[in-house]
């Protein structure tokens, strides 16, 4: 029964080697596939860089995308300026209205404001009562 033992040893060895070869080949295939993917990504990135380096229709390229600020720059200063400006404008408006109303007011307030021919006819005046 010894010879049979001798013949089965190489057979087992070759089977192990075959399995090992198969595993190595699978690993090799995976590595190649991964390499090809990386090469493709590298090509795509190179293309993107090349496209980004090209100037746009307006003659410039965007390096950093703009962001919308969440409040105006110098908000407190602007608010203070607006408040002071509004106050001054309101004061001028009030004065202008006052002058206009005074200019348009033709009512008689005192006997001296009457024309001479009418002032001569004033026989009395009643004080303003509070």
């Amino acid at each position: 029964m010894r010879p049979s033992t001798n013949t089965s040893r190489p057979t087992r060895t070759s089977a192990r080697q075959a399995r090992s070869r198969t595993a190595l080949k699978r690993t090799d295939d995976l590595a190649r596939t991964h390499y090809e993917d990386l090469v493709q990504k590298l090509d795509a990135a190179k293309l993107d860089i090349a496209a980004a380096d090209q100037p746009g229709a307006a003659g410039f390229r965007v390096i950093d995308s703009p962001t919308v600020p969440y409040r105006p720059k110098g908000f407190v200063k602007l608010a203070a300026l607006a408040a002071v400006g509004g106050l001054v404008a309101g004061l001028f408006l009030m004065l202008a209205t006052l002058l206009l109303l005074t200019a348009l007011d033709t009512s008689v307030r005192r006997p001296q404001e009457l024309p001479e021919e009418l002032a001569q006819r004033v026989v009395g005046s009643i004080p303003r009562l509070r």
Partner: protein, 223 residues
């Protein structure tokens, strides 16, 4: 005229309070009354250019001054038929009044309402504004003379000259006319228009002329 019992002067002051006439108004109207004739007045009319100038107040003050200062019998006659207010102001009966007297439906004794010593009033009565011109015709036709016979002086509370359709017509019935101008309210063109509309030109009484500024500021500004 209903003869009211003799009332001492201090009780007459009490009537002033009832009228709601401040002393300043009475003082101003007292000097006005003197300047336009004082005890010689027989028919004085109080008018204005527009409404709300103080006609009724001045008419009441002039009537009171004639009765108190000169001891004359006074009839206060309300001729503002569009906007009668005398009855409410003096707490008198609104009717019968001038309208009923002019139409002949009420006698003189029925329409004369005493409200103080030597003072009586005739209210506008139940007149319609449209009937104003007709009532004025009746007044000219003899009713006014009958009223004058009841008193030494008739003080007429007239309608405004411009804003009333018969204001000028009513003003012509007064021998002496006083026009009240509300200071700071009545525009000068309206004052001129009103004065030009009546002849002879009325005496002018300015109402509410004093400044509300503090005394030191009035001195500083010479107002």
């Amino acid at each position: 005229m209903h003869q009211v019992q003799s009332v001492p002067w201090h009780e007459v002051i009490g009537i002033n309070g009832q009228f709601g006439l401040p002393t300043q108004v009475l003082d101003a109207c007292r000097s006005t009354s003197l300047r336009i004739g004082g005890p010689r007045l027989t028919t004085v009319g109080v008018t204005s250019a527009i409404r709300g100038e103080g006609r009724s107040m001045v008419a009441q003050a002039l009537a009171l001054i004639q009765a108190n200062d000169y001891r004359r019998r006074v009839v206060l006659l309300e001729l503002d038929l569009e906007n009668p207010a005398l009855a409410e102001q003096l707490r008198l009966a609104a009717r019968p009044g001038l309208a009923e007297l002019a139409q002949g439906s009420s006698a003189m004794s029925e329409v004369l309402q005493p409200f103080g010593p030597r003072l009586a009033a005739i209210t506008a009565g139940a007149s319609l504004p449209a009937a104003g011109a007709g009532i004025l015709e009746q007044l000219r036709g003899g009713v006014l003379r009958a009223v004058q016979q009841e008193a030494d002086v008739v003080v007429m509370d007239l309608p405004p000259l411009i804003t009333s359709p018969y204001g000028r017509q009513a003003a012509q019935m007064a021998e002496q006319l006083v026009m009240v101008i509300r200071a700071g309210i009545t525009p000068l063109p309206r004052v001129k228009e009103a004065i030009d509309s009546v002849s002879p030109a009325p005496a002018i009484l300015l109402n509410g002329v004093h400044s509300s500024l503090p005394r030191w500021m009035q001195t500083l500004l010479s107002v």
